[in-house]
Symmetry: C2
Subunit: 434 residues, 2 copies
């Protein structure tokens, strides 16, 4: 057997690895021939030396081949996957999945749990009493065929190499590498057989990528991997310089998504959900943009999307009355306090990550994998960049277990909002489509 250290030495010395070398190394790691230590040295060398496009593609393919795949063909619907790189108050999946289903598409969304300052779609959905996310591949296929959408936990048998490598990257300070992130994201998308992959790459204070330029680089790397595997994909770089919606929590996020699907709430969450649904139609049906956007808006405003959510919740064992009376069905925190602006001015910047962490502090999220989350707690914060606030004006609510927790979260949220004198131009919702 070849000494696998030579592969690490080659990357260390700035050489380009062959597909066979990358395959040997990843397979060696899966089989236990490569120690965690050697793999960590490899990951750091990849991070600092970079990976060429063909190296990233070989890594991604090898990761996909490390486990099972899920086919969504033969359902009689065009299958679409939508993935967000993670943000704060980012409930697009909860709106998009039933909306796309109402438009005749199929969405099987395999999600993860929240970690750090970003929430997880599974945690949010599980705040609906009774709802299961541990669906088998057959249950997913059947539900998608019948309802048009399913949101389920990603099986550990799907891309197991990514699970192992991601945990190692998290433990060894080797997360922030565009090729490694792209390989991780796309291996999970490519392992599911869909007709279109839509990527929402977030940029800003609440995202992993802090600038639109960095987010664009990641989006391009992801699209190159889809193209290298012969898969259709499209990506948007979208704004995460402030929370997308108003709600940061689990039940609170679900309630906000339901409000959007009921047509009661406008704003950026509705707008971005419509844009992704329209993009899906444009890419799969050759629909024009304005026509596709109008169809998507009608699917919400006419109630069809809400009915798809009701069917999905019911199919997954949840209480379907949640779509009619979210406040009555979803768990509620014992303490609910208003937050009041602590100064006057125009909102110029928001530290969205800090607001996410304030919600984690309330118990809504987790710092370490496996920590429990409280579905009821969280934060609702209304102002968006460019809005004028007056001191003492209500800006939102904290849902907490106790008064002290509420006060601490409110303090953090208010400190995360930067008020200035002059007028401020709101950031664009979408920086670019590609």
């Amino acid at each position: 057997m070849k000494d696998l250290r030579t592969i690490v030495a080659a990357k260390r010395d700035g050489k380009t690895l062959s597909e066979a070398e990358i395959r040997a190394f990843v397979e060696g790691y899966s089989k236990g021939d490569v120690s965690d230590a050697l793999a960590a040295a490899f990951l750091m060398a990849c991070l600092l030396r970079g990976l060429e496009a063909q190296e990233t593609l070989a890594l991604t393919k090898t990761m996909v081949e490390s486990g099972e795949t899920l086919s969504l063909s033969g359902l009689g619907r065009t299958a679409v996957d939508k993935h967000s790189t993670g943000g704060v108050a980012d409930g697009v999946t909860l709106v998009f999945a039933p909306l796309a289903a109402a438009l005749g598409l199929a969405v099987a969304k395999l999600s993860g749990r929240g970690l750090g300052h970003t929430g997880g779609t599974l945690d949010k959905l599980e705040s609906i009493p009774g709802l299961r996310t541990d669906l088998t591949p057959e249950e997913i296929r059947r539900q998608v065929g019948e309802v048009g959408c399913a949101v389920a936990a990603q099986s550990p048998n799907l891309v197991p190499a990514d699970g192992a490598l991601y945990a190692l990257r998290d433990a060894t300070a080797t997360v922030p590498s565009v090729p490694l992130i792209a390989a991780s994201v796309m291996s999970k998308k490519l392992a599911v057989g869909t007709d279109l992959i839509l990527l929402d790459v977030k940029a800003g204070s609440g995202a992993f990528m802090k600038t639109p330029e960095d987010a664009r680089e990641l989006a391009e790397a992801c699209l190159a991997l889809a193209s290298g595997c012969g898969r259709k994909a499209s990506a948007a770089v979208t704004d995460m310089s402030q929370p997308l919606g108003d709600a940061v929590g689990n039940a609170l996020d679900v309630a906000e998504a339901i409000a959007v699907l009921r047509g009661e709430t406008g704003g950026r969450l509705r707008e971005l959900s419509l844009l992704f649904a329209a993009r899906a139609l444009e890419q799969t049906n050759d629909a024009g943009h304005e026509e596709a956007l109008a169809q998507a808006a009608e699917a919400i405003d006419g109630g069809a999307a809400l009915e798809r959510l009701r069917s999905m919740v019911q199919a997954q064992g949840g209480d379907p009355r949640v779509v009619d009376d979210p406040e009555g069905v979803l768990p509620r925190a014992p303490v609910r306090e208003h937050m009041l602006a602590d100064g006057s001015g125009v909102l110029a910047a928001v530290d969205a990550e800090e607001i996410g962490l304030a919600s984690v502090g309330l118990g809504a999220g987790r710092i370490r994998k496996g920590d429990p989350v409280d579905p009821s707690v969280g934060i609702v914060v209304h102002p968006k960049i460019g809005d004028r606030l007056e001191a003492g004006e209500p800006v939102g609510e904290v849902h907490a277990r106790d008064h002290d927790g509420a006060a601490e979260a409110a303090r953090r949220v208010l400190a995360a909002m930067n008020l200035v004198d002059g007028p401020v131009q709101p950031p664009p919702l979408v920086h670019s489509w590609m």
Copy 2:
């Protein structure tokens, strides 16, 4: 406790670490709070981002403080340590230790075992029947006081952090970093209280550093560490573009060192041993160079150095008759075959590493830590760069377990010697002193 990943992230991002951060990380590794994987990522980041002089010094100090230290003060002799970065047919320590003792100095040489293409002084010495190298600190002090020299195994309690980190570097392709090599070498020298540290940094095909420039960089890094710890040190960059002596093996190396100490053999091994002994006198007694060199030559030619070796061998339990009759006392290989030049010309280059590996192939060295070595086998090869050879002329001998092994080693040695037409200038023995 601080998240120690942040220290790795800082180095990854090119930041300079504080002494406190380096200490926290190394101590965390020693205590098991830092996993091998996180330490491997750290080592790769150090290798690729580099370490500033003050970071390397902090790393070295922390490593020294990880274990016991050995004091050689109060012996009534000036204590000198000599260290070679490793080469082929590099028997200087075996000559230098008794020579320096004969000159009134004290040498307590703590050595390691051979690994890869370079031999280890312990393996060589242990080819003398009965000789022990597992001396206690008290035995070392007493022997150095009485005899003037001792060559013993480095205790695992001396710089244990280096032992652990070196094994991890070997396993993770993170060996070739000048600051990490310098910290490893010097931590072991600084843990022993001596008046002078002499470093022999090898450069060329048989050395870790392939060019004099790279070797000089390593020497400077080592000297900076000595200076940073208030210790006197001097270094030479010496030639390893060919084997230093003629013998590559264990008993063969000892026999060659004895021949030098008996005044029977001249050449580069004798010359370099004299230069280091003279350097030790110059640096510790303010002796002039010519006078010091003459004193050293007289210590060999008058037999005083050989008597010190006899006393040292006896003190360590070995058969002292080895100095009178090495061939009769040392183990001998069953097969001994001449090598004949396979062409005519002037020797222009030697792949010294390949000759070292040919000797390992015979069983004289080890590929992996813990492998046994055969004391009797090895290679003697006489020609040096610049020598003219005629086809069929004897160029040396192979000492092997069997004929097939001898033939394979001879083939490798002859292939490692590059003959050309024109005259060739021999390389300098010493590139520079510093």
